[in-house]
């Protein structure tokens, strides 16, 4: 079930990136798209009855920490991408005075 929801999020994000003409909305779509994959990693790392992976003696079942670490990296990458995208959009806006892609292609 979770996977299905996750896939829906994934496709939704992809759809927004492809379909939307507004660059900012595209960035939002990109973020949703990326987040769906982040969530996917979190889902797969969940262990039933597990606790956060901080070692102490009485808890032996804990969630897989590796995907969390990976996704932390991926999130950072995502933030970098987003901020770069926003910066570029500002430049585009300065040059064309528009951020609607269908208008930009005409110019």
């Amino acid at each position: 079930m979770l996977f299905v929801l996750n896939m829906i999020l994934f496709l939704l994000g992809l759809f927004i990136i492809i379909r939307e003409s507004n660059l900012i909305k595209k960035v939002i779509g990109l973020n949703i798209f990326q987040s769906s994959v982040f969530i996917f990693y979190l889902i797969i790392s969940k262990v039933d009855g597990g606790v956060p992976p901080i070692l102490n003696d009485d808890q032996l079942i804990y969630s897989n920490p590796l995907p969390h670490v990976l996704i932390l990296t991926a999130i950072v990458v995502g933030i970098a991408t987003t901020s770069l995208a926003l910066a570029l959009i500002i430049k585009v806006k300065q040059k064309y005075n528009s951020i609607e892609e269908h208008e930009l292609d005409k110019i």
Partner: protein, 140 residues
């Protein structure tokens, strides 16, 4: 914001706490949840809050754009230098075991320095992002 008393007072009270919390997260990263990343962001948040309340001029006089850039670079360099130190002391890149007399101490020292580098970089990147967005709004 300079003339709003309540935010000023609250900020004055909060900033030391925020910075202290940042430092806590920074130095406790190797024992509990936390680390340079989070600490850097928290630290930067404190500084940004200061800027919002007291104005950029004062903020920039404390930490100018160029200093911030240099500190950001220094963070990365610190990180890499620790890595190179591992090579120089006969291990692999980023191998901390050789940094101190015992491997455990070495690991502690290594992770501390590396996280320090990360924290330095992240906090300054955050500040720089804040600065540059401010520049854009000023241009308009």
């Amino acid at each position: 914001m300079r003339h709003h008393t309540i935010p000023r007072i609250v900020t004055k009270l909060l900033i030391p706490v925020i910075l202290l919390f940042g430092l806590y997260v920074q130095f406790h990263g190797d024992f509990s949840a936390g680390g340079g990343f989070q600490a850097g962001v928290i630290f930067a948040a404190g500084f940004i809050l200061y800027n919002i309340i007291f104005g950029l001029d004062i903020g920039k006089s404390i930490l100018s754009v160029n200093t911030s850039k240099s500190l950001m670079a220094l963070g990365v360099i610190l990180y890499l230098m620790v890595g190179f130190l591992g090579i120089l002391l006969g291990g692999n890149f980023l191998e901390y075991n050789y940094l101190s007399n015992t491997p455990i101490n070495g690991q502690l020292l290594g992770i501390f320095l590396v996280e320090l580098g990360v924290g330095l970089t992240v906090s300054n990147v955050m500040v720089l992002v804040f600065y540059s967005f401010n520049d854009i709004s000023e241009e308009k």
